[in-house]
Subunit: 308 residues, 3 copies
């Protein structure tokens, strides 16, 4: 029996130590639970919502579990939120660079392949979010939701306009999570060329929306240079800049800064115009959906990333 | 025996209470406590200090309870701390904008009406602080303390130079907290004009200091354009910039950037000189207390916001 | 009877399950444990790794305990991590200034002498880290590790290239920790002159490496102006800028920005070129180890600070 207990109660700074003593705890098992999948399988939880998980090292954190989609057991491990598309690799661009866009920071903040965590589950559509599950959980597939910014947790599913998941168990080939995938395939300027060094493109199963509606979230120019129905990891552009995730597309060209999110800290073309969590989504105007620009809908929505 | 225990384990927002008991223990009462008022009323706590609270969704956080003023039961939900008045909407300006002051960010960081949290109770006079109680607690009144920067928790009350509260239960008209009030009355450039679109001005009861000493914290020019003895929410200035809280005053003119704190990210007059957590408090010099400038005392003190 | 309970299992990544039981159930004594030293002495924990500690005010946090070096019982309270040496007092420079380098911010972010906390134990080599132990624990000595950036916790000790500690109990003269030491000796521009107002230089006992290998981490020019085998606190440079820690050296000259880390926010010489967590380590090029520049090894390693 694996007992790991976290109890927190009403503690005042003024209590005598004597009162802090003694606690009885009978026969209830609290087990360190590492993922929503385990919560579902071992304990039968079947309701979407917030739960506590813990890591092998004892870090306790709260996150959202999707317990119903395609069998359930999906753990929210990250959200990519664009706080200000006019800010080019500035404060709030934690999935690219908060240090400006420059050759001096080829990997930017490095969040895709380090253990730094930030944000909270409750604010995952209002701020970048990354919990220890991102690097700790061993998973096989990912799911992605696009949820309008600033929605409350209980509204995420109903207000989302796009939800999909993979079923190929591709993470088995990358040591079980995106942290390990991006250790292998760094999101860093200059690590490779387009298209030779793109990471995997994985086919999608749609839970809300479809490959075409997903494709149409991006500008017409980049739609002509991508194939719908995939999620792609570690894409590279013409100038050698690296991006983390292309949600819903497989690049067939190299202007990937218009459909991929997250990245390193150096985007040479008209630097730093493409640098930021949502890269060059505003190339032909903010939310215009014309030329290379993405739609307002996808521009003003957080990208939630789940593991199972 | 009155067990007051909060077990953090497998807590879902959707679980029936019965299921939560499964994960606690024999003969112990599980009590999620959401506010200092509840701690006082249900459990009899009567000492000022730090306590743990939890939200309906199971988020556990530590904050300060004022258990003695005017009946006690006041929960600290936020502090507005000016880390650097020379930095105009830069790092640390979480209650206005950390993205610079510009028309591109009319709402700034949006902290007044989103669920992003930051800081810690212990550091609430050294850093901006916002806990889940800010958006979760249902309250009727607010209290405000002005405490010199960098004071330790046990010194807050004794070192504070101004403490007041409302008694009108005005939050009943705004869905029970400032988060909801500011959802209704956004702190955003361009949402209205001065004075037509100001939010409520609520009369104050002083616990330390009085309406006059409070008024005198601001520069003589703005004193002539404000009425003492009120707290005002969502004030607007001549140029259409919005501010969150005018501590101790009701504007009778429109130069409110000299007596109101928090705000959106766009202050057009000599932009970005008025942009920041303490807006234009330094208009006629830092801490000079002449012309439009606030006193050094109020400039170098954190504003602690409580609910009851 | 009111039972006020704060129970957090002392969970180590390395502990056998049986040991964890001792602290969690029937009839066991719950004790708020404030330091790794107490964990070792009172409860016999002897394995390096992550543990939970709590403060007198009830703040619970996880940190790393070195339970084996020189008798063990060392608590990790802080790490200084240079995220981007090209960024001069910009985002991520939490131990100096994130507000730019300027006379307006003589103390910078003030982290050395305030209660603001940041980062996590798990990410202590990827991000700045400061926990409540930094200001709460009463200690006598410090230990310092230099660990390459982005190492996982279980690799810290084996990948570190320098580890040392003091044995003089010098903290007894400074109210028991660095927070109090730096309250007394502020890390702030203009508080004194070099060398008259330097803080203490304490002799070191090396656990990995030696005084010479430590000395050689810095550029030849500054080696000529320092004596190896000491840790120095609150050094000052020619222009009156203050720095927090000179790891492994005692200054004999005043160009201390090339061997000391952490600092205020104003470094006048060619401002802001010396401003940042690792000050002027790149004066003659990044990681070159020539002239005034430090080696790449020390430049790309986090500095972990322990108390006992």
């Amino acid at each position: 029996m694996n007992w790991i207990i976290l109890l927190v109660a009403f503690t005042s700074i003024n209590l005598p130590v004597a009162q802090q003593h003694l606690f009885t705890f009978n026969e209830q098992e609290y087990s360190s639970t590492s993922s929503c999948k385990e919560l579902k399988q071992r304990f039968g939880f079947s309701t979407d919502g917030l739960y506590y998980l813990s890591t092998a090292s004892g870090v306790v954190y709260q996150t959202y579990c999707d317990m119903t989609t395609a069998g359930g057991g999906w753990t929210l491990v990250a959200s990519v939120h664009e706080n200000n598309l006019y800010g080019k690799c500035t404060t709030g661009d934690r999935w690219s660079s908060q240090q400006g866009g420059s050759p001096n920071v080829p990997e930017g903040d490095g969040s895709w392949s380090n253990t730094v965590t930030f944000g909270t589950a409750e604010a995952a559509t209002s701020d970048d979010f990354k919990n220890p599950g991102y690097y700790e959980i061993t998973a096989e597939d990912v799911a992605v939701w696009h949820v309008p910014n600033n929605e409350r947790v209980d509204q995420w599913k109903v207000k989302s306009f796009l939800r999909y998941h993979t079923e190929t168990k591709f993470l088995n080939s990358y040591s079980g999570n995106l942290y390990n995938l991006f250790k292998l395939l760094p999101v860093k300027f200059g690590v490779g060329t387009c298209p030779a060094n793109h990471g995997p493109s994985v086919p999608l199963v749609y839970d809300l929306g479809d490959a075409t509606s997903n494709h149409n979230l991006y500008g017409p120019n980049i739609r002509a240079l991508t194939q719908p129905g995939f999620i792609t990891f570690r894409a590279i552009n013409t100038e050698g800049a690296a991006m983390a995730i292309c949600s819903g597309v497989k690049p067939t060209g190299c202007q990937n800064e218009h459909c991929c999110i997250g990245g390193g800290g150096n985007f040479p073309q008209e630097s730093p115009r493409q640098c930021g969590d949502f890269t060059g989504f505003d190339w032909d105007g903010y939310g215009t959906g014309v030329g290379w620009s993405a739609s307002k809908q996808v521009t003003e929505a957080a990208v939630l990333i789940f593991y199972r």
